[in-house]
Symmetry: C2
Subunit: 358 residues, 2 copies
């Protein structure tokens, strides 16, 4: 590099103050990675202004753009889950499904994945192999190929066993491109299955909790189910998979992106009794607990039955349910009707409910 | 997930032993991420058999495939450099240039990048902002857009400030697709500039060394130079950018992938006096020290002058030189002629020369 380049680069930076008020957050805290209000602040105040472009500004699960005559979706996720293994999966399975699900809910057929591993010195080799096998099996299940990779090793004490980044490319079909801009008053809100199992399964292992029945993560691929749904002709207005921050966070974000008023029926939201019990013990709200194989969908009222029929044909969608509807357009607001008939307002979490859940 | 899925996943794994001999390497060591022999073993014995597909098997800097009528390149790199800032750059600049360079040397025009940040709790917010600005400036310089991202935060003591994964998509033009399969006897081997500066610059900061003249990393974008080279009509047979393991490792890999005998002229390889001196003090071979803005090129003898002229028009290529040639096809071998006229054999490093250099 020439000195001139350095000066140029410096001058581009000079004079721009950090957009996150240092007085409030002089340092990164766990909640900056939690998917709630602080993550949002980083994205909206720091990353979007810096990297300014329409694909990023759309705030979808994947960036969407045209290359030649094809419309592609591109997404990335780093996985730092602790513990690495949990009932129903491991970090490898999570890393593949997390990324293919982000592509699928944008209406894309996942084609190719990259895998970037950051290993901590001393990580057991046979454990690495189990994770690699898990990624291989998950990729087969989601019908996607892992075509490029990178491995870095950090010194002992500078990591936590293994972190995995997966980025993915998907191809968007000609017809439907679901997104928050299509959400309309009158749309039914559907959930593809029961919520909160992934987060509780991981927390149970981490905290050494034992329940009467083991709670198994919902971690799974939405790819085949979404493909059939779109092929069936159901006019899906919007889909989003649930992850950090759970169902509530996903629906709040979609309400804000579409300026919609959304009313949920609390007693219609599927939560397994074991998850409900565990959440009471742990002091968690299951609506905010992470899922890794669930999505919310917005479909016109007259397409609800067809959508449910398709979802329920897939084991991962057998508990699919209608949980509410979009009542108005104009101002974002999400409420959930409680058992006693009151309406509870759902808002983004400020703190970190479950660190390192994905 | 259904129990049936779990059983199925288990049965796919069961019975397959870890392909890395546990007796030799029961645990991951730093050298598994060093780019040398142990990294190679992981790739060839573990990742390639598990993820088995042609794009991965090609072992190029990027996976190349067709989507619709377009030919795309896709690559990923995680960056774990320590320290985060070094003379001539920082982890943000490195993360952008590392990935666009991987795309460029495959003959692709870099279009889109993803950015996956893993932050350690307690990382200073204004330092994060400087790195984000650095990524922004680097992306502008390389004419690429950062369109999707992800931020995770790990507990204090489970990271090292910041790790950045960047994945990238590039578009391959219709005409030339350079690759090791095109290397031929008679090809000249060119280097685009002096070698070893990035590694020495980083080591100097890490070890607190001071030299008479500060050694500045070569970290930079090859994108514009490669684009002009390809547009100029120079029939480039193969390009590869240098990173971990430096020039020697890149050339050894290319010799093996093309079964070529390559003879280098030691006195033609540009190494700055400061780098040479520092390498003597640190006990390093500059040919194996990391670069982050350099590439080797293979071009037919009669295109050498034209190639050099294009390279030298760019500040990042002003020290471009011919450093050797391909003498035979059939058996991979790389030698370098020393000052006293003997031929030294270059082989992949077994250990880790410079951990966490990128």
């Amino acid at each position: 590099m020439k000195p001139a380049d350095t000066e140029n680069a410096d001058s581009l930076i000079t004079g721009l103050a950090c957009p996150i008020p240092i007085v409030d957050y002089p340092h990164v805290v766990l909640a900056h990675g939690g998917g709630g209000r602080l993550t949002r602040q980083l994205i909206e105040d720091m990353f979007q202004p810096a990297f300014d472009n329409p694909a990023l500004a759309a705030q979808n699960d994947s960036a969407v753009f045209e290359v030649g005559s094809s419309r592609l979706a591109f997404t990335t996720d780093s996985h730092v889950i602790s513990p690495i293994d949990y009932p129903g999966g491991d970090i490898g399975r999570l890393a593949v499904f997390g990324t293919v699900n982000d592509l699928a809910v944008c209406g894309a057929r996942p084609l190719y994945l990259s895998a970037g591993l950051i290993l901590e010195e001393g990580f057991p080799m046979d454990h690495l192999w189990r994770i690699v096998c898990s990624m291989r099996d998950a990729a087969r299940e989601a019908n996607v190929r892992i075509v490029t990779g990178d491995t870095k090793v950090v010194d002992k004490g500078k990591g936590d066993g293994i972190y995995i980044n997966t980025s993915g490319i998907g191809l968007i079909g000609a017809s439907i491109e679901p997104g928050p801009e299509n959400i309309e008053p009158g749309d039914a809100v559907l959930i593809s299955g029961d919520v909160g199992r992934h987060g509780v399964a991981v927390m149970a292992v981490r905290e050494g909790l034992e329940f009467e029945t083991e709670i198994v993560s919902d971690c799974g691929s939405l790819v085949a189910m979404v493909a059939e749904l779109l092929a069936s002709g159901v006019p899906v207005h919007c889909m989003r998979d649930l992850t950090r921050g759970g169902m509530a966070t996903a629906i709040i974000e979609l309400a804000e992106q579409s300026s919609s008023r959304i009313e949920l029926e609390g007693d219609q939201i599927p939560v397994k009794p074991g998850v409900r019990g565990a959440c009471e013990i742990l002091g968690l709200d299951p609506l905010y607990v992470a899922c890794e194989g669930r999505m919310v969908l917005f479909v016109p009222e007259d397409a609800v039955e067809q959508a449910l029929a398709v979802l329920r044909r897939h084991p991962i969608g057998e508990d699919a349910a209608v949980i509410g509807r979009v009542t108005e357009n104009g101002r974002a607001k999400v409420t959930v009707r409680t058992e006693i008939g009151t309406h509870r307002l759902l808002t983004l979490l400020s703190g970190e409910q479950l660190p390192r859940i994905c």
